[in-house]
C-alpha cells in the first residue's frame, strides 16, 4: 500500500508556538491517561487497539484537493462512540505518534500541533456532539448512525480550523488567513461527509450485533441483571 497520508510537517509553524502546543498536548493527554485508567477494562482494551488500527487504516485515505493542501479522514468521532472520549483521544494520539515515528508522517516537532488538532479538538467536538445528539435522537442503531454522521462532519471541520489557529499564531510564511481558513474548511466538509458515512455504517453494524461494545450507549442501557435478579 502506498502511504500518502500527511500531517503538519516540521517547519510549517515556528518553534515557540509548536512548543506551546506540545506542552498543551502533553498536559491534556496526561489528564486523559488518568481518566482512561477507570475505563480500560477487558472489553475496552482490545476495542481500543482495534479502533486505533481502524483509524490508522482510514487515515491512509488521502484527498489531494489543491497543491499543498491535502486532508484525510480523522476517525475521532468513531473512537468517541466506541471507546469514549478519554480512551478515544489516546487512540488517535497513539496513531499519530506511531505514524510519526515509524512512517515519517508528520513532523516530530509538530506532533504537539497534530495531537491538539486531531486527537484533542477533533475528539472533544465529536464527544460533545454525540453526547448532545443522543439525548434527542432515538438510542437505536439508526439514531446512532445519524449521530455519528453529523458529529463526524462537524468535528472534522473543527479540527481543520485548529490548524488555522496555529498557523495564525506561528505560521512561518505569509498566506492570507481567510484563504487558508476557507480552503481548509471547504476541503474538510467533503472529507467529513466521507468520514461520516464510514463512521455511521461501522457504528450501526456494531450497535446491531454487539450493542454492549458501544461506549456511547452505556449510559442509556438499563442494567440487564436487575431483571434476572427479580426472576431468580
Amino acid at each position: 500500500m502506498e502511504t500518502t497520508a500527511m500531517h503538519i510537517a516540521n517547519g510549517i509553524v515556528d518553534g515557540p508556538v509548536s512548543a506551546a502546543f506540545a506542552v498543551l498536548a502533553v498536559a491534556a493527554l496526561a489528564f486523559c491517561v488518568r481518566k482512561a485508567r477507570n475505563d480500560l477494562d477487558e472489553r475496552l482494551a482490545p476495542m481500543a487497539g482495534l479502533v486505533a488500527a481502524f483509524i490508522f487504516a482510514v487515515q491512509m485515505l488521502n484527498f489531494q484537493v489543491l497543491p499543498g493542501v491535502s486532508g484525510h479522514l480523522l476517525g475521532g468521532t468513531l473512537a468517541v462512540i466506541l471507546v469514549g472520549p478519554w480512551v478515544g483521544a489516546l487512540c488517535v494520539s497513539t496513531v499519530l505518534i506511531v505514524q510519526c515515528l515509524l512512517f515519517a508522517d508528520g513532523g516530530l516537532t509538530a506532533l504537539g500541533l497534530n495531537i491538539t488538532n486531531m486527537a484533542l479538538l477533533g475528539t472533544a467536538a465529536g464527544y460533545l456532539l454525540v453526547a448532545g445528539l443522543l439525548r434527542i435522537l432515538p438510542k437505536t442503531a439508526s439514531g446512532l448512525a445519524a449521530t455519528a454522521f453529523v458529529a463526524s462532519v462537524i468535528s472534522v471541520v473543527v479540527a481543520s480550523q485548529g490548524f488555522v489557529l496555529e498557523y495564525a499564531l506561528g505560521g512561518t510564511t505569509e498566506l492570507s488567513l481567510p484563504w487558508v481558513s476557507g480552503t481548509m474548511a471547504g476541503v474538510h466538509v467533503l472529507i467529513g461527509i466521507g468520514e461520516g458515512l464510514i463512521a455511521a455504517t461501522t457504528v450501526a453494524t456494531v450497535a446491531k450485533v454487539r450493542p454492549d461494545l458501544v461506549y456511547a450507549l452505556r449510559r442509556f442501557r438499563r442494567p440487564a441483571f436487575a431483571k434476572v435478579g427479580v426472576n431468580a
Partner: protein
C-alpha cells in the same frame, strides 16, 4: 506465523545502528529534530552540515540512498506548498529569470523544504533500523504511560488482523460471483466495512482473553535485561552533540 514483526519501512540489515537499543535511537532522533527546527532559517550552511550528518548515519546503517529518496516523497504535498510561496508572498521582491519573487516567500519556502526534509529523513532512518516491537519497547523504557504502549501494541497486531480478514472476505465475495465496484453497489462495501470491524474485534477479543488468562497485565514480557548500557547512550549521543555544535558554530559565526 511470520507476520507482524516487521513493518513496510523496516530494512532488515546488520549494522551498528540496527544494534543500538531503541530508546537510545528515539532520544537521538527527537533531539536532532528539535535542534534542526530551532535553527534560524538563514543559517544556510548549518543545514548542509545536518544533511552531512544524516548521510553518515545512513551509510553506517547501510540504508541505500534511493530507498530513502523514494520514501521521502511523503513530504511532497508540503514541498508543493513551498514552491507556491515565492509567488504568493508579500513584502520585498527580487527579479530572477524574469519572475518577480518575494524574498520572504523564498525564505519561507527554503525553511519548509530544509526542515521538512531533514525531519523526514531522520524519522525514516529510525524506522528503517527499528522494528515495531522494539519501538514500543523503547517507548516503554522511556517511561511512556502503559496505556499508550498497550494501545499501540494492539493496534499494530490488529493491522495485520484487519488486512487478513479483509482479504478473506474479498475472496469469499468473489467466490460467490459478486464484485462490487460501482457507486450504486456502495451498500455492499459499507456492509463489509461493518462486518470486517466486528469479525476483527471478536477475533482480537479471543486473543486478548487468552493473553489475560496467561498472565498478561498490560505489558509484554521483556526478553533482554532492562536498560541500555551507557556505551550505547554515548554512541547515540554523537548525533545530537554534533548537530548542536554545528548550530552553535553557525550562531557564533554570523
Amino acid at each position: 506465523m511470520g507476520a507482524g514483526h516487521a513493518h513496510p519501512l523496516h530494512l532488515d540489515r546488520v549494522s551498528p545502528v540496527h544494534r543500538l537499543a531503541p530508546e537510545v535511537k528515539i532520544a537521538a532522533v527527537v533531539l536532532f529534530t528539535i535542534i534542526v527546527v530551532v535553527t534560524p532559517r538563514t543559517e544556510f550552511w548549518a543545514f548542509g552540515g545536518y544533511a552531512v550528518l544524516l548521510v553518515v548515519v545512513a551509510a553506517m546503517a547501510r540504508v541505500p540512498a534511493p530507498w530513502l529518496a523514494k520514501r521521502a516523497t511523503i513530504e511532497l504535498p508540503f514541498v508543493l506548498l513551498a514552491v507556491a510561496l515565492p509567488f504568493a508572498g508579500h513584502g520585498e521582491r527580487v527579479d530572477w529569470l524574469g519572475m518577480s519573487l518575494s524574498v520572504d516567500g523564498l525564505h519561507g519556502a527554503w525553511n519548509i523544504f530544509a526542515k521538512g526534509t531533514l525531519g523526514v529523513v531522520a524519522s525514516l532512518l529510525l524506522a528503517a533500523t527499528t522494528t515495531m516491537r522494539d519501538l514500543i519497547l523503547g517507548l516503554d523504557r522511556l517511561r511512556c504511560p502503559t496505556v499508550f504502549t498497550q494501545i499501540a501494541t494492539f493496534m499494530l497486531r490488529y493491522l495485520d488482523v484487519l488486512a487478513d480478514d479483509a482479504r478473506r472476505m474479498r475472496i469469499a465475495r468473489l467466490a460467490r460471483g459478486y464484485d462490487p465496484r460501482f457507486l450504486w453497489q456502495v451498500k455492499a462495501f459499507a456492509v463489509s466495512v461493518g462486518a470486517l470491524f466486528l469479525r476483527a474485534y471478536e477475533r482480537g477479543e479471543r486473543v486478548y482473553l487468552a493473553m489475560v488468562s496467561r498472565g498478561y497485565a498490560g505489558r509484554l514480557p521483556q526478553s533482554s535485561s532492562g536498560r541500555a548500557p551507557a556505551g550505547q547512550w554515548m554512541a547515540a549521543a554523537v548525533l545530537p552533540v554534533a548537530t548542536a555544535s554545528i548550530a552553535l558554530a553557525a550562531a557564533l559565526g554570523s
